[in-house]
């Protein structure tokens, strides 16, 4: 194999590859990226056995071939090369090394046999459709903060992507929850997606997928089966196993009868929460909200370090309410609001609270209160 490739696209492809490979793995080949050169393109393939990313980059192929080399090492090298450099990759069958050459730098890297590289078995995808990148980006960006890291409830370690009936008709929906908060985000249902099976997209896949969704105008080809899903742009194909489990029936935890309504400027609210939470040294910093007559008083009492209080003018016309929350959770859900005011709907101080953006039901958030 002998190829010449620009540093820019190489860096992007190898950057994605090195974020997929598992750093703490015990199988050496899984630390490697498989580089395959053919025609006028080079593909970079990386896998952790759960996710596989293939990134095709245009290149000058002088001699087709394939080789595997440490993804992290190659990434570090490429990262340190000057911008605009032309990089030559060629394998030396006698030494079994990969030569990396750019300007006056040259590296010889150990390789492993390409035959050992595990290629993910392809699946029968029963559902194929295309979705706008910006819709997918919104679905995952607004829900991923609520993904659980708790290993016991592994079926919460991802975003539940499924078809649902939203307020405005059929929707492609993402739901994530860790038991303390829940995010439910809807997008218009793409044509051909109606019979898609619901799948739990693992946290790591959500992170890798994000890199395919930067371009506002792009259309993403989505393929879904019961066990795998695939997202593809013209250059990148991301295939992932889905979490084998049943996502809980989230509809019963979304409050429907919360009547106490608070409307507040989300950014102002977030800044105030952040300020008062400063005095608390606990990591789960509890903020108390007292609501009465268009006034919201936020306060934090930290026995060791002090107290803080801030008052905000808000729209609140219901009976007086005192309720506590983890400051981090409030900041996270307030951070999802980008156009209108945040609308909170409360019930009793021990009950889940609902938040949405203005009157928009396409993204709603539920958060459990905290004893204060």
């Amino acid at each position: 194999m002998k190829i010449s490739i620009e540093r820019g696209p190489l860096s992007r492809a190898i950057g994605q590859a090195q974020s997929v490979v598992e750093r703490r793995n015990t199988i050496p080949i899984l630390a490697n990226v498989l580089i395959e050169a053919e025609g006028d393109a080079v593909s970079f393939r990386a896998t952790d056995l759960d996710i596989e990313v293939v990134d095709r980059v245009p290149a000058q192929v002088d001699q087709p071939g394939a080789v595997t080399v440490s993804a992290v090492l190659l990434h570090e090298i490429v990262r340190k090369l000057p911008e605009g450099a032309l990089v030559q990759l060629s394998d030396d069958p006698t030494s079994g090394r990969l030569n990396v050459r750019a300007g006056r730098s040259s590296f010889q890297l150990a390789t492993l046999p390409k035959e050992d590289f595990p290629v993910m078995a392809s699946a029968e995808y029963g559902s194929n459709f295309t979705a706008p990148a910006r819709d997918l980006r919104r679905l995952f960006d607004k829900s991923k903060f609520a993904i659980s890291t708790e290993e016991t409830r592994y079926y919460l370690n991802g975003v539940y992507l499924h078809v649902a009936t939203g307020e405005d008709g059929p929707a492609l929906r993402c739901v994530a929850t860790d038991g303390h908060r829940l995010a439910r985000v809807d997008a218009p249902l793409p044509e051909g997606a109606a019979d898609m099976p619901g799948v739990i997209v693992p946290r790591k896949t959500v992170g890798e997928l994000r890199k395919l969704l930067e371009d506002d105008e792009a259309e993403i080809a989505v393929s879904v089966s019961e066990t795998k899903l695939r997202f593809a742009t013209a250059e990148i194909t991301l295939t992932s196993k889905v979490i084998d489990g049943t996502f809980p029936d989230y509809s019963r935890v979304i409050p429907t009868a919360n009547t106490r309504r608070l409307e507040v400027d989300a950014a102002e609210f977030a800044r105030a929460v952040d300020r008062v939470a400063t005095v608390s040294s606990e990591r789960s910093r509890a903020v108390k909200l007292v609501l009465e007559d268009d006034r919201l008083v936020l306060s934090v009492t930290a026995p060791d370090s002090g107290t803080a209080e801030e008052e905000l003018a808000v729209a609140y016309a219901d009976e007086r309410l005192e309720i506590g929350f983890n400051a981090k959770y409030l900041l996270e859900i307030a951070g999802q609001v980008d156009r209108e005011n945040a609308v909170f709907l409360f019930n009793a101080p021990g009950d889940p609270t609902l938040m949405r953006e203005g009157g928009d039901p396409s993204a709603i958030y539920v958060v459990m209160p905290m004893r204060v």
Binding site: T149, E150, E151, T152, R153, L156, T177, D178, G179, H180, R181, L182, P248, V253, E282, R283, S284, A286, P303, G324, N326, G350, P352, V366, M368, P369, M370, R371, V372
Partner: protein, 424 residues
Amino acid sequence: MPALCRDCLVTLPAAAARCPACGRPRVLAHPELFALSIAHVDCDAFYASVEKRDAPDLRTRPVIVGGGRRGVVSAACYIARIHGVRSAMPMFQALRLCPDAAVIAPRHDRYAAVSRAIRARMEALTPAVEPLSLDEAFLDLTGTARLHGAPPAVLLARLVRDIEAEVGVTASVGLSHNKFLAKIASDLDKPRGFSVVGRAETEAFLRDRPVGVIWGVGAAAQAGLSAAGIHRISDLLRWDEAALVARFGAQGARLWRLARGIDARPVSADAPVKSISNETTFGEDIAAPELLGAHLWRLSEKVADRAKAHGLAGRVVTLKLKRADFRLLTRRSSLREPTQMADAIWRAADPLLAAEAPRAPFRLIGVGLSDLGPAGAADRTGDLLDAQHARRAAAERATDAIRARFGAGAILRGRALGPGDGAG
């Protein structure tokens, strides 16, 4: 030799077979009886006793607390112990030994409430109460004789008599001149025991005991000591301090002191606790996942009990395993929120254990809780997906609210007055 009737609390100038005042036989005599003031009070078969207290028809039956899905004995009453049932024994084995035992699932909130009632009584005697768990504590009664108008031995006898009569569980007392000896003593005469180890007899008292009586000397340490020819405390006495330190490190200095009955640790009500852990070494290596899980559950309960006793909650759960070749594995998991609940500790540790299952068999399992803070910050957020969790949190919130408003001591003592108290 000064003596004391443990039933009517009369003090006597000399030992007697029966108390001349009340005629009962529980007369305690010891030359240093009224000169010692460090005590260890340990409830007898605590969980099982609480269950018997709450259901009097169980009183004459063997009772085993534990089992359920996790299947090991958490506690066995003395009747069950006669049949050979022991803590940490798999439930099927316990039931083979004692088929007519009543098996009761542990009710930790209940035990915590009873423990608080007992603690309140201890704290009425001295501020220097150092709880070790829900069912045991050290008390330093030095200098309290004038305040209470009676020497420590009398106060302790009254304490356990009152706990028995009013709280409904029995306890055993070890009275000595330091914590190490008091703790050994409380175990000598269980149940309803009262043992005294004086200064004069300290060395003779320790000499023939196995080194395992020293706190922290478990099976592994015993094996190490045994390799050096040390089986009994008397074997330790033959070593000079430098030699023990050379062989066993810092632990060696501790062994040298404790073998001589020297223990200067104060009884401290608020000793800073950095982590709470419990571990157990098996008689033979265990590979069966259910059995390992069962031990893990029992240890999680113990850790939670101690966290509750100290009013602490932790955010990091650590699993410790020792493989058959003595190699130690530790795995940790951080929680979203600090906890002091056995269930939450177990739920964090169990997946860690499952992940290490291929490395079984193990000779030791332990679980620890660290990154500790005040319990006020613990378990404060409900779980959207777990209705059970929400109910527990609600109950705890209510208890805490009452405590915060009226003060811990007052409300707890009030609760302890009737056997049907609704705490927990």
